[in-house]
């Protein structure tokens, strides 16, 4: 693996103007990704996971503003890049799969049209060659009689098939980075596993980097190289997947992992772990740790500046006032 990361983000901030002020949806997050690596961003709904991915792609709506001290994708500054530069990257070098397969394909055009378009937008190849590539990729994503599917319209396909088509479309130009925003949330449980398996296989085969956004920790445990835990617009804990699952440090990460029932360990009928409380409002000035109102380890210092702590020789980073994410017995709870 080369030393230079494919994607390096420092201090990514996303603000949304709302009626009552500014919603600080994402506040200064840092992460990086090597070529061929899988980063899973986990967190509950509204924590800013999807916004982060849309911000990287340059697909935020017009009123949402983003900034970062660094957002480098293989030499291109994703924030400073012109529309034209971004357009050349999107679909060609960085591709995205969305949460809603039922509505993400254009109902007015055939699958073939939409697949071929993805290639022709970026590569100077003939229509016939593009068509062959589309058939090859449909086969690769496990669609039978691929050639005859090209003439079908999205409404003639099931949700699982549509998501496979979306994956094939994202891969038409062999991107270096694939962002998958909850790609299985809208699918049946049986299909979910198939699609994930497919994504992982394709990612290994094509040596793509992948950012998988999910709230399913079971999935993360199976496929992630790196994990970033997002809470209320901050990455409260990032690090190698093994470290995070073996030794979750931030109180929120520990809470999340406690919520997963473990076969054999969790007693039948025992209460599953929960995290009490709700996510705070992010409108207006946000100070201190956003998790402090729900945190069992909270102390008065949590209202102030929160230090970044690194562990395991810098591989794991947490945002917490406590060195190891735990309140010492001598400290006064908040």
């Amino acid at each position: 693996m080369t030393d230079k990361p494919l994607l390096s983000v420092r201090g990514l901030t996303i603000d949304i103007p709302v009626a009552s002020g500014t919603l600080h949806a994402v506040r200064g997050i840092d992460f990086e990704l090597m070529k061929g690596e899988t980063l899973c961003i986990v967190g509950e709904s509204g924590s800013g996971k999807s916004l982060t991915s849309l911000a990287l792609m340059g697909l935020l709506g017009g009123r949402i503003s983003r900034r970062a001290s660094r957002a480098d994708f293989d030499g291109t500054d994703l924030i400073a890049a012109s529309n034209r530069q971004m357009r050349r990257l999107r679909g060609a070098r960085m591709a995205m799969i969305f949460q809603e397969p039922m509505t993400s394909l254009n109902p007015a055009y055939t699958i073939g049209d939409q697949l071929i378009e993805a290639l022709l937008l970026h590569k100077k190849v003939g229509r016939a060659a593009a068509r062959d590539r589309a058939v090859a990729l449909l086969e690769k994503v496990g669609i039978t009689s691929a050639a005859s599917r090209l003439g079908q319209y999205p409404h003639q396909l099931s949700g699982g098939l549509r998501q496979r088509v979306m994956i094939a479309m994202a891969l038409m130009c062999e991107p270096d980075l694939l962002i998958a925003d909850e790609p299985t949330t809208a699918l049946d449980v049986t299909i979910q596993a198939q699609i994930l398996r497919l994504l992982v296989d394709l990612q290994r085969e094509m040596n793509m980097a992948m950012i998988l956004i999910t709230h399913d920790l079971g999935v993360v445990a199976r496929i992630a190289d790196k994990v970033a835990v997002m809470y209320a617009g901050e990455l409260v804990e990032t690090g190698p997947a093994a470290d995070i699952f073996n030794a979750p440090t931030h109180p929120y990460t520990r809470g999340l992992i406690n919520c997963i029932p473990v076969p054999g360990k969790t007693a039948r009928g025992a209460k599953l772990g929960t995290i009490p409380g709700i996510v705070p409002s992010l409108v207006g000035e946000v100070t201190g740790c956003p998790f402090r109102t729900r945190c069992s380890e909270a102390v008065p210092a949590c209202r102030g500046e929160i230090p970044v702590r690194t562990r395991h020789a810098g591989r794991q980073r947490i945002l917490c006032v406590h060195e190891d994410g735990q309140r010492a017995a001598s400290e006064v709870p908040a």
Binding site: L59, R88, L89, F98, T103, S104, N106, P107, A118
Partner: protein
């Protein structure tokens, strides 16, 4: 697609037959036609003779069949007033109406669709406000008033365009503007609403994620889906323009089919009224059919329903 077209065509023919029967029955709903033809001061014998001459004494269905089979050969009988074949009379006037209708709807679409798209791309911008103002003005201004204003400005004061008649293309400019501007607001608002909805659709985001340039996103991916309801509306408006442009035809003395219908109703000229009703209804049927076919082409989901 072919099966869809054939099915819609079959439906259109059934509707046309129904309409033809209704327009034929009008003759009998409006009183005894023989008395109307005979005129005032005719005695019983005259009326009976006319009844026999025109065949009004025969069963109604038989008369309908006769009328329909001649109508299919474009023979709608003779006008009571002009004593001329109704078909010639209508053919003469229809060309004016059709030119006006086609120009009117084209003007409306060419103005409304780009304006609606621009307004949707930048909601609440200056363009959106201007478009809103134009459409409110178009909806609020009565045609006769707007027509007269245009005549005063462009025909009388500036002397650029003729105020009445149908001799040259220049005669059609002002009527086209009045007729088209009246149809514009609804088309514009519908285009704007459709585009606004479609632009926030997931598949538009997908198109952008593919790296499609903005023009392709707007016109290939968004407009094709947004324009579908506009097609249906434009078809109805087109039918309306061909049949109901009486006001505009009167202001600009454009003696088209709408004007003929209005005159014929006043003169109790039933064969002409009958034929015009049929022709106007057929226009609606034809345009609705064409709109259905166009929509099915635009949206594949409609082909199967």
């Amino acid at each position: 697609m072919l099966r869809f077209i054939l099915r819609r065509l079959g439906l259109a023919v059934l509707v046309a037959l129904t309409v033809s029967f209704i327009s034929f029955s009008l003759l009998f709903l409006s009183g005894d036609p023989a008395i109307a033809i005979a005129g005032e001061g005719a005695n019983e014998n005259d009326i009976a003779a006319i009844r026999k001459l025109y065949g009004f004494d025969r069963p109604m269905l038989l008369q309908y069949w006769d009328w329909l089979s001649s109508a299919l050969r474009f023979d709608f009988g003779e006008s009571y007033y002009f004593r001329l074949p109704v078909a010639d009379l209508i053919a003469d006037r229809l060309s004016v109406t059709m030119i006006l209708g086609v120009c009117g709807i084209s003007f409306a679409l060419l103005l409304a669709v780009p304006l609606g798209v621009l307004a949707a791309i930048r909601p609440n911008s200056i363009i959106d406000r201007v478009a809103l103002f134009l459409s409110v003005a178009g909806q609020a201004m009565p045609s006769f008033w707007f027509g007269l204003i245009l005549i005063v400005v462009f025909s009388i004061n500036l002397r650029w365009l003729p105020a009445s008649g149908a001799e040259s293309w220049r005669h059609f400019i002002l009527p086209t503007i009045v007729l088209g501007y009246y149809a514009m607001p609804a088309i514009m608002r519908l285009t704007r609403a459709g585009m606004l909805e479609v632009l926030s659709a997931d598949y538009v985001r997908t198109a952008r994620a593919k790296g499609a340039p903005e023009g392709l996103v707007l016109f290939k991916h968004a407009l094709r889906n947004a324009i579908i309801p506009v097609v249906s509306l434009a078809a109805v408006q087109m039918g309306f323009m061909l049949g109901g442009s009486i006001v505009v035809e009167s202001i600009f003395a454009l003696h088209g089919a709408g004007y003929l219908a209005w005159e014929s109703i006043g003169r109790n000229d039933l064969p002409t009224v009958q034929a015009l009703i049929l022709v106007f209804s057929l226009f609606y049927i034809v345009f609705t059919f064409l709109a259905d076919v166009l929509n099915a082409w635009l949206d594949p989901r409609m082909r199967s329903s």
